[in-house]
C-alpha cells in the first residue's frame, strides 16, 4: 500500500503549496480557505505536476465538493474545494488535461465551469439532461 514519504510536508511548504497538508488513505489532502482553483492550477503546472482528475462529491447543502487531484513526483495531491451555487471557474484553458474532466463533471453533477468557451457533452448527447449522479430515483 502506498505510504507517505518522510518530510514531504516540508517539501510542500517550501514549494509554495501552503500549510495544513495531511496524508490520509492514499493521498495528500488540503482544504484551503477560499481556494483559487486557477491560481492553484497555475502553480501546479509551473511545478510540472500532472493533472490527474476532478472528483465531485455531492454535499448535503446541494453544493458539490470538488477534489482537484495532481500527481507531483509520484505523490498524489488532492485540493478540496466546493462550488458556489454549483459554479466554479474553469482550469481547462490552463491545462487541457482538465477539459474532459470538467465536461464529465458537468454531466454527472451539473456543475457549471465558468469561463469555458463551450461545454460540449462528453458522455451524453446534446439536449440530454445533466446531473446523472444526482438522480434519486434508485432506492439506496
Amino acid at each position: 500500500m502506498n505510504t507517505a514519504p518522510e518530510n514531504f510536508v516540508q517539501t510542500l511548504h517550501e514549494s509554495g503549496l501552503g500549510d495544513g497538508w495531511e496524508w490520509k488513505n492514499g493521498s495528500w489532502w488540503i482544504t484551503p480557505e477560499a481556494m483559487d482553483v486557477r491560481a492553484t492550477a497555475a502553480r501546479m503546472i509551473s511545478l510540472e505536476a500532472r493533472f490527474v482528475a476532478i472528483t465531485a462529491v455531492e454535499r448535503e447543502d446541494k453544493e458539490i465538493r470538488l477534489d482537484y487531484q495532481w500527481d507531483w513526483n509520484g505523490q498524489l495531491l488532492s485540493f478540496t474545494t466546493a462550488t458556489t451555487e454549483q459554479r466554479i471557474p474553469t482550469i481547462a484553458d490552463l491545462t487541457p488535461a482538465a477539459d474532459w474532466a470538467e465536461r464529465e463533471t458537468r454531466e454527472y453533477f451539473a456543475v457549471e465551469f465558468t469561463g469555458r468557451e463551450s461545454t460540449e457533452p462528453l458522455m451524453t448527447r446534446a439536449g440530454d439532461p445533466i446531473g446523472i449522479n444526482l438522480r434519486k430515483e434508485a432506492v439506496k
Binding site: 500500500m1 502506498n2 492514499g26 509520484g74 458522455m123 449522479n133 438522480r135 439506496k140
Partner: protein, 362 residues
C-alpha cells in the same frame, strides 16, 4: 480541397466505438474532433447504489481487457478505509494477476498494431501467444476475462501450481525473444511504416496528462509500480522502458520491452511466492465495517494509471465511487498525434494510443 470525414462510432477503421471527425486538406489531416460516450453505462452511479461486495463484481466489468486492475484498485481503496491488510502471499498473487493481465493486453495491442502496419503474420503470432496467457489466467482463476480474484483483504483463490505458470512463461519469453522483439525493434519495414508517424511530443503528452506506455513513449518515465508502489512491487526488480522519439515506433518499442519486463516480474513473483494465508481475517460473522472517510487507490493498468476514489458515509454502500481510467486521459491526445499526418495513417495512430472505450466511457 478540404474534406470533413466522419469516422465511427462503428467503422472498420476503428477498433473501438468512438467517433472521429477528421478535417483534411487533400490527404493531410488538419484537425480532428473526437466524440465518445457510446459505451456509457453509468458505472459510478451504479456503484453508489450497491454494497461494497457487489461493487467488486461491478467494477470488474468496467473493462473486458484490464478487468483485474479495476477490482484490485477498488479493493485497495476499501482496504485503506477498513484497515484490512492483505497477507504477503495475496500481494504476490495480485502482482502475478496484474502482470498476466498486462501481458495479454499488450499482446492484443501488438496484434492490432501489427495488423494495421500490414504485418498480419505477427498479428496471428500475437494472438496465439495471447491465448497462452489466457490459458495461464484460466488455470489460476478459472476464468478467461473477469477473474474474480480480488476481494477486500486479499484474493479469493490461491495459485496451487506456480510451476504450471512458469512453464507457460518459458514459452512466452522464448517467443517474445525470437519473434516480437526482432520485428518490433529491428525490422526495417516496421521501422519505415512507424518512424516519425503520429508524433506526440513530451510537452503535449504532459499538457494532456497522458499516462502509461503512451506517455513513456513520449519521454515521460512515470509508472505507478515504481512511483507509488502497491502490492509487492517494491520487492521486485524491474525496469521501466522509456523512449523519446514520441512516434508510433516508440510505442511499439515500449510495449515490446514492457512485455519482457512483465515476464521478469512474473518469474520473480512466482519463485518468491511466500507461504501463508491469501486473505486477511474478517470478523467472526465474515463481515467488515467500512468507517466514514475517503480513500484513493492508484495502480498501473496495462494502459496506464487507474485511480479509484471511494467515499464512505459509514453504511454498507459507498456514497461516492470515482473511477478515472487511463484512456480517459490518453485518448484526447489523438488530436495532436494526427494533425499534419496522412489520412491513411490515422487508424494506426489512433490504435497506437491503445484505446479502450469500455474503460473510458464506463
Amino acid at each position: 480541397m478540404s474534406f470533413r470525414i466522419p469516422i465511427g462510432p462503428y467503422h472498420p477503421a476503428l477498433e473501438e466505438p468512438y467517433k472521429l471527425e477528421l478535417l483534411c486538406d487533400g490527404e493531410t489531416v488538419r484537425d480532428a474532433v473526437m466524440n465518445i460516450g457510446f459505451n456509457f453505462r453509468g458505472i459510478e452511479y451504479l456503484a453508489e447504489r450497491r454494497n461494497y461486495l457487489q461493487g467488486i463484481t461491478l467494477v470488474e466489468r468496467v473493462c473486458g481487457i484490464c478487468s483485474n486492475v479495476h477490482s484490485l484498485s477498488y479493493c485497495q481503496a476499501v482496504e485503506q478505509l477498513t484497515g484490512a491488510e492483505p497477507p504477503e502471499r495475496a500481494l504476490y498473487i495480485r502482482v502475478i494477476l496484474a502482470e498476466l493481465e498486462r501481458l495479454h493486453s499488450h499482446f492484443l495491442w501488438s496484434g492490432v498494431a501489427a495488423k494495421l502496419i500490414g504485418f498480419k503474420t505477427i498479428f496471428m503470432t500475437c494472438f496465439t501467444l495471447r491465448e497462452r496467457v489466457m490459458d495461464a489466467l484460466s488455470t489460476i482463476s478459472g476464468n478467461r476475462v473477469n477473474y474474480g480474484m480480488n476481494c477486500i483483504g486479499g484474493v479469493n483463490r490461491d495459485i496451487a501450481d506456480p510451476q504450471a505458470v512458469l512453464n507457460i512463461l518459458d514459452e512466452l519469453e522464448r517467443e517474445i525473444g525470437h519473434t516480437i522483439l526482432p520485428i518490433f525493434l529491428h525490422d526495417r519495414s516496421v521501422e519505415a511504416r512507424c518512424k516519425g508517424v503520429g508524433i506526440l511530443t513530451t510537452e503535449q503528452a504532459r499538457a494532456m496528462g497522458a499516462v502509461g506506455p503512451l506517455a513513456r513513449a513520449s519521454g515521460i518515465g512515470q509508472d505507478m509500480r515504481k512511483a507509488a508502489p502497491y502490492c509487492a512491487y517494491d520487492r521486485i526488480e524491474f525496469s521501466v522502458p522509456v523512449e523519446t522519439t514520441c512516434d508510433v515506433r516508440a510505442r511499439l518499442v515500449v510495449h515490446a520491452l514492457e512485455m519482457v519486463e512483465s515476464c521478469h516480474i512474473l518469474r520473480q513473483a512466482l519463485r518468491a511466492l511466500p507461504a501463508g494465508p491469501i486473505c486477511a481475517k474478517t470478523s467472526s460473522a465474515g463481515r467488515f465495517k467500512v468507517p466514514a472517510g475517503t480513500a484513493i487507490s492508484r495502480a498501473e493498468a496495462p494502459r496506464g494509471e487507474v485511480l479509484y476514489q471511494i467515499t464512505s458515509d459509514g453504511t454498507d454502500i459507498p456514497s461516492r465511487v470515482r473511477v478515472r481510467t487511463p484512456t480517459f486521459m490518453n485518448m484526447a491526445t489523438v488530436r495532436h498525434a494526427v494533425i499534419g499526418q496522412e489520412l491513411a495513417d490515422s487508424p494506426l495512430i489512433q490504435a497506437s494510443c491503445d484505446p479502450c472505450y469500455s474503460c473510458t466511457d464506463r
